[in-house]
């Protein structure tokens, strides 16, 4: 295992280093392109992001999520600590379950979102998009908790797509098909423990595999051996980006500014403004931002994050959003032509009171054809549900594809 020695004078030389699957990724990375994801090298696309995307929707795609920030939280006060940290009721995430969560500062503005894995009674893993250890340590004051950032000690591999369950079964993970969505199970694997959760960032059937980095390569090999007949492919971050937009999942620093990185107060967002009001549980007596969010609930929010179904087929990246009277009311944060939904879709931020489901808007799309720029005003409609939400995502056991 490779550890970052931040205190070493030479730390800057190896600030970004190959992850535990690097040898396997390198062999498959036809494009020879690498990007940086915090401390690790990551692959944007092994060969063709569209092919990788389709593997995720129609077969099985494998993505290295080791660089995602991971924390282990334990100790007698782990539950009250997490309950004060996040807006939802963590007591309802039972052992062996995973919950999506969002956490705020005292002003009720979102610092980050992530997942809470209740691995075993009182033993939690918190995964986050951004580095959170400072905020977690600040939160620890007055709680009897142990908090470790173990990003480098856990290798993570997402195995996503309709054939993912079949692949894992063929790998010998007996009973993996019985894991329900957001469930966790543990397996013996080559003399170590393999943790499997039915989670993902694709909005489809899929699993995430967690193992110590020393067993990363053999895990990769076994997954790919088992997946040969199921059309398994490695997937880069470009394809994952497409999958998550279709699923309607938001991304920190893309669809909203994390509060800790935001200088201008009006540029932060509350959970309500991100469409995450369902994660806010006012039945808890206290959590960070509770008072501010109560006030917001009473007085109304400033913004709404909406899913847009746009006419025309040109992706609306970076577009302004207008109401039907040509008044500028917001902007698009993520957009794509969705091959699976066969729709031109986008996530957008609009000013209150806009953003009601069914509301008609316009999107100003600039697009280029052979270097020539053109502009259209496309009609768009606010929709309620994710653009891609197949029944197999929830089916247990999943069908054998």
């Amino acid at each position: 295992m490779r550890t970052v020695h931040y205190h070493s004078r030479e730390h800057y030389r190896d600030k970004v280093f190959p992850g535990p699957f690097y040898s396997r990724q390198k062999a498959l990375n036809v494009n020879r392109e690498w990007s940086r994801w915090y401390d690790y090298l990551s692959v944007p696309a092994y060969s063709c992001s569209t092919t990788e995307y389709f593997a995720g929707r129609n077969a099985c795609a494998v993505f290295d999520l080791t660089p995602m920030t991971k924390h282990r939280i334990g100790g007698p006060d782990a539950l009250p600590f997490l309950n004060r940290l996040v807006t939802r009721d963590v007591a309802r995430i039972k052992p062996g379950r995973v919950g999506y969560a969002v956490w705020c500062n005292d002003e009720g503005q979102v610092i980050d979102d992530g997942t809470i894995f209740h691995l075993r009674e009182g033993d939690y893993r918190l995964c986050s998009q951004e580095h959170q250890i400072d905020w977690l340590m600040i939160n620890a004051l007055g709680f009897d908790v142990t908090i470790v950032e173990d990003t480098h000690d856990v290798a993570g591999l997402a195995v996503q797509g309709p054939t993912s369950c079949a692949v894992l079964k063929r790998m010998g993970l007996a009973g993996v098909e019985n894991i329900t969505p957001f469930g966790i199970d543990f397996f013996d694997f080559e003399g170590t423990e393999l943790t499997v959760s039915r989670t993902g960032y694709t909005g489809d059937l899929g699993y995430e595999l967690w193992i110590d980095p020393g067993h990363a390569e053999i895990l990769w090999d076994r997954v790919f051996e088992a997946g040969e007949l199921h059309n398994i492919r490695p997937m880069g971050s470009d394809a994952l980006e497409m999958l998550r937009i279709e699923a309607g999942f938001i991304l920190a620093a893309e669809d909203f500014m994390p509060a800790m990185q935001t200088v201008r107060p009006s540029h932060t967002r509350s959970p309500f403004e991100l469409g995450l009001g369902w994660l806010v549980d006012f039945n808890k007596p206290l959590f960070n931002g509770r008072k501010a969010l109560l006030t917001e609930k009473e007085n109304g929010s400033r913004y709404a994050l909406v899913k847009l179904d746009i006419e025309d087929n040109k992706p609306a990246n970076h577009s302004y959003v207008f109401d039907m009277k040509e008044k500028n009311i917001g902007w698009v944060t993520s957009a794509m032509w969705s091959p699976s939904a066969k729709k031109n879709i986008a996530l957008a931020t609009v000013e209150a009171p806009h953003g009601k489901v069914g509301e008609e808007m316009q999107v100003e799309i600039y697009y280029q054809r052979e270097l020539k720029w053109s502009r259209i005003m496309a009609r768009a409609k606010v929709v309620k549900d994710a653009f891609w939400d197949p029944p197999r995502r929830r089916q247990t056991p999943p069908a054998d594809y």
């Binding site: 002003e107 709680f143 007596p285 960070n288």
Partner: protein, 515 residues
């Protein structure tokens, strides 16, 4: 019971808690005060430290008590009496070339310094007036559009602007800087500069060359800066406040320490005493320091994380030790007219001396040659000691709360340093000592239940003042926890036995606590 009357508990019968109790009771609320110690007063008490010898155990001079409070609560009729008012300050010199001053009147310096003193005093009084003018006002909240807050901010800006062009420029120039530079610009005499410099550092983790030391001096002068000696010690002030509060109907219970503040869902609902008894109330007001109130009595688990973090970062490093000597006779300060021994005597013979005493504190050590502010109250108030005997009370700096190696190992050595220093200015004093007691900030912390043993509950500095005191979000005496208010020295305008925090808190509760 009048309409709208509510049951209000006050934690701690320190002077601010008592002032708050008196004003709330006067407004018709049912007020109950719980005090941990067996007597009222907090750090403003008189107690015996040796058989037959009594002393003001922490604060020992009155120089900031709000005259409005004295009048409104009619403290004189409740027993407040002064043994003497208008004490002069004498800056002692080893050689006996003492400098004596009181207001503009200064003795023992050149004509140039006399002139400089008049200008310095004029300026400082003028600027201190701005700070003093804020004492009895609830600070404005920042970032709101509420009319009272905006008016309050406008008032502050107007008061600074009203200084006139030159003085406003000068105020803005010196308010945040260090007193060493300001005094060096004006004065020649070392002993005079030392004593004036000391005013910028007393009670704080500041040297004369530290930023904020001018602000600290202005705070000290902000209620006129006249030193007064209460008859019977500081306990007299507290007893008068307690009597006033009782006269308005407040109940005061001593020897009943509060264990924790009770919460029901998201609201403070009362207190649990150390006896285990739980008592409910409509509102709880804490006179304890912010760290004790929020992190010990309430618990960080009951606060949002950002707020708890800010509270935990309040600077509360106490630096003053308190020396009490029981003396067989009046000490003989070299070259000092015995008639002047009853004045406020300071050992701060030069700015260099003060700064060097502070240097140790920066590195977690106590001063080897400390600075002192000395009072021998028995010269005016013989009742504090057996006939013919005397009491010497001194604030001694610097004695950092967090001492390298801990206080138990260093207590004796520090006491020796203090006595040796005294001996140089009053030869023979060691042989006059019958009993001695030295309270380190650690002792002050445990005896008076003040986090860090800090006089002001929170360091007196611009970044912890006004709308930032103790931290933004609770500077209006209302805390983020519904039903919980604060009224101690950790609030605006700070400590120094002034009572303004307690009165402002009462006013805020009466005006803003809603229904």
């Amino acid at each position: 019971m009048i309409r709208g009357s509510r049951s209000i508990q006050i934690i701690g019968a320190g002077h601010n808690g008592l002032v708050c109790a008196a004003y709330l009771a006067r407004a018709g609320h049912q007020v109950t005060v719980f005090e941990a110690s067996s007597q009222v007063g907090g750090a403003a008490i008189t107690r015996e430290f040796a058989p037959g010898f009594k002393v003001s155990a922490a604060a020992h001079l009155v120089y900031m008590l709000d005259p409005g409070i004295e009048k409104e609560l009619d403290l004189a009729s409740h027993g407040l009496e002064y043994a003497r008012t208008g004490l002069q300050t004498i800056s002692l010199s080893e050689a006996g070339d003492h400098v004596r001053f009181n207001g503009d009147d200064v003795d023992g310096v050149s004509e140039g310094d006399r002139e400089a003193m008049r200008e310095y005093r004029r300026k400082m009084q003028h600027f201190a007036g701005i700070i003093g003018g804020l004492h009895n006002r609830v600070p404005a909240r920042l970032g709101t559009t509420d009319r009272p807050d905006l008016l309050e901010l406008a008032r502050l800006a107007f008061n600074i602007r009203r200084l006139g062009k030159n003085d406003m420029r000068e105020f803005l120039r010196i308010a945040g800087i260090n007193i060493y530079d300001v005094l060096q610009e004006l004065f020649e005499n070392d002993a005079l500069k030392g004593a004036l410099g000391l005013d910028g550092t007393l009670g704080t983790m500041l040297g004369t060359r530290s930023n904020n030391s001018v602000f600290c001096a202005l705070h000290r002068y902000s209620n006129g800066g006249r030193y007064q000696l209460p008859k019977g010690g500081m306990g007299t002030v507290s007893n008068a406040l307690a009597n006033a509060a009782r006269a308005f109907g407040a109940e005061i219970h001593t020897a009943r320490p509060v264990n924790r503040i009770l919460m029901d869902f998201d609201r403070a609902t009362g207190v649990e005493l150390q006896s285990g008894e739980q008592i409910e109330a409509d509102l709880v007001v804490s006179g304890a320091d912010p760290k004790t109130t929020f992190l010990k009595l309430l618990g960080a688990q009951n606060l949002e994380a950002g707020f708890a973090h800010k509270i935990s970062n309040i600077r509360t490093r106490g630096n003053v030790a308190k020396l009490h000597l029981a003396l067989g006779s009046v000490p003989d300060f070299t070259g000092l007219d015995p008639a002047l021994s009853a004045e406020r005597l300071v050992i701060a013979p030069s700015l260099q001396y003060v700064e060097q005493a502070f240097n140790h504190a920066k590195y977690g050590e106590h001063s080897r040659r400390p600075v002192m502010e000395i009072s021998i109250p028995t010269l005016d108030d013989p009742g504090l000691a057996p006939a013919g005997k005397h009491v010497l009370s001194a604030n001694v700096q610097w004695a950092p709360r967090e001492l390298k190696g801990g206080w138990s190992a260093a207590h004796e050595a520090f006491t020796e340093s203090v006595m040796n220093t005294l001996e140089r200015f009053a030869p023979g004093i060691c042989s006059q000592v019958m009993h001695r007691e030295l309270l380190t900030p650690q002792d002050i912390e445990s005896e008076f239940r003040i986090e860090g043993g800090h006089w002001h509950h929170a360091e007196l500095a611009l970044d912890q003042s006004m709308m930032m005191r103790p931290v933004p979000g609770t500077a209006q005496y209302k805390t983020p926890v519904d039903g919980l208010w604060i009224c101690g020295a950790g609030c605006h305008p700070g400590g120094g036995v002034m009572g303004s925090a307690g009165r402002n808190a009462a006013r805020a509760i009466i005006e803003r606590s809603g229904t």
